[in-house]
């Protein structure tokens, strides 16, 4: 489909970095405030859908290859399973939380009943949040792009 007018293209290209930063903020602070991997991934994917509507699906399809986006999604899924298998190696249960309570990367424990937010807490949860967030962003972007491109072609047996 064709793109929209010049005012819409300028406004979207100003708004898209702010949407991406807000979505990554919601993914990264998933263990302190409401949010997490799935919610932040949906925010960034709706920003990418705004880009497809404003610039036209043929313009975006020439510049982004769908095979690389599908590989990006598989990397997110493999990262999630790798973190779960590391829990099996280090603490003898599948999905075990082996970083909480130790003094490695995300290790400190908040006091019981405290209402302060410390970014260094959480154990293995922020790593899982990032893996699921990458998976949701790439998956929803590929679905929107392929369906918008296929509905603008005249015939399909090319």
């Amino acid at each position: 489909m064709n793109g929209m007018s010049k005012i819409v293209k300028t406004t979207v290209s100003i708004l898209f970095p702010f949407t991406m930063i807000f979505g990554l903020y919601v993914i990264a602070h998933g263990h302190l405030t409401p949010g997490g991997g799935f919610q932040g991934g949906a925010i960034v994917a709706s920003g990418c859908a705004m880009l497809v509507i404003a610039y036209g699906s043929e313009w975006v399809f020439e510049r982004i290859k769908t095979k690389r986006l599908a590989a990006f999604e598989s990397i997110g899924g493999l990262g999630f399973i790798a973190v779960a298998l590391l829990g099996l190696v280090f603490s003898t249960v599948f999905f075990g939380n082996f970083l909480a309570g130790s003094n490695l990367l995300f290790g400190t424990t908040p006091a019981t009943g405290s209402t302060l937010a410390d970014m260094n807490t959480g154990g293995v949860l922020p790593l899982m949040n990032f893996a699921v967030g990458i998976k949701v962003i790439a998956g929803l972007f590929v679905i929107v792009l392929v369906m918008a491109y296929a509905s603008s072609q005249k015939e399909w047996n090319t």
Binding site: L32, T33, P34, F38, P110, G113, S114, T115, L116, A117, L140, I143, M147, A150, S151, W156
Partner: protein, 119 residues
């Protein structure tokens, strides 16, 4: 009677979706009806876990003076609703792709004509 109003709203949403699936002829309207039924089921899952005058089960910037496990809402139904919403999105994407293929092949979206055209 006044304390059953959210459940009556859930049953009303399921009836609207069921009416659109059973009594309409356009394929897009049937797909919209299925999506409304899924929204009604998600609403039912969330209203099962409410406690009277409770706050969200998050410890960051809690209002001072809430008793710790008794003043918070139950967290497990909210986690199950997240999974249900994602399943609804995946099923909707696959349904719309199949509707696009049917339209390319038959040229119409009326379910009475799609049944009768045989190749």
């Amino acid at each position: 009677m006044i304390e059953y109003i959210p459940f009556i709203a859930v049953v009303g949403m399921i009836f609207i979706g069921l009416y659109a699936v059973l009594f309409r002829r356009n394929l897009i309207k049937i797909v919209i009806g299925i999506s409304v039924i899924e929204s009604g089921v998600n609403l039912f899952l969330i209203t099962l876990g409410y406690r009277d005058s409770g706050v969200a089960p998050i410890y960051t910037s809690l209002p001072a003076g809430t008793p710790s496990p008794q003043g918070m809402v139950l967290p497990v139904p909210q986690a199950l609703t997240l999974t249900s919403i994602v399943i609804g999105v995946a099923v909707l994407a696959l349904m719309l792709s199949l509707v696009m293929h049917i339209y390319r092949k038959y040229g119409t979206l009326d379910i009475r004509k799609i049944r009768r055209l045989k190749e």
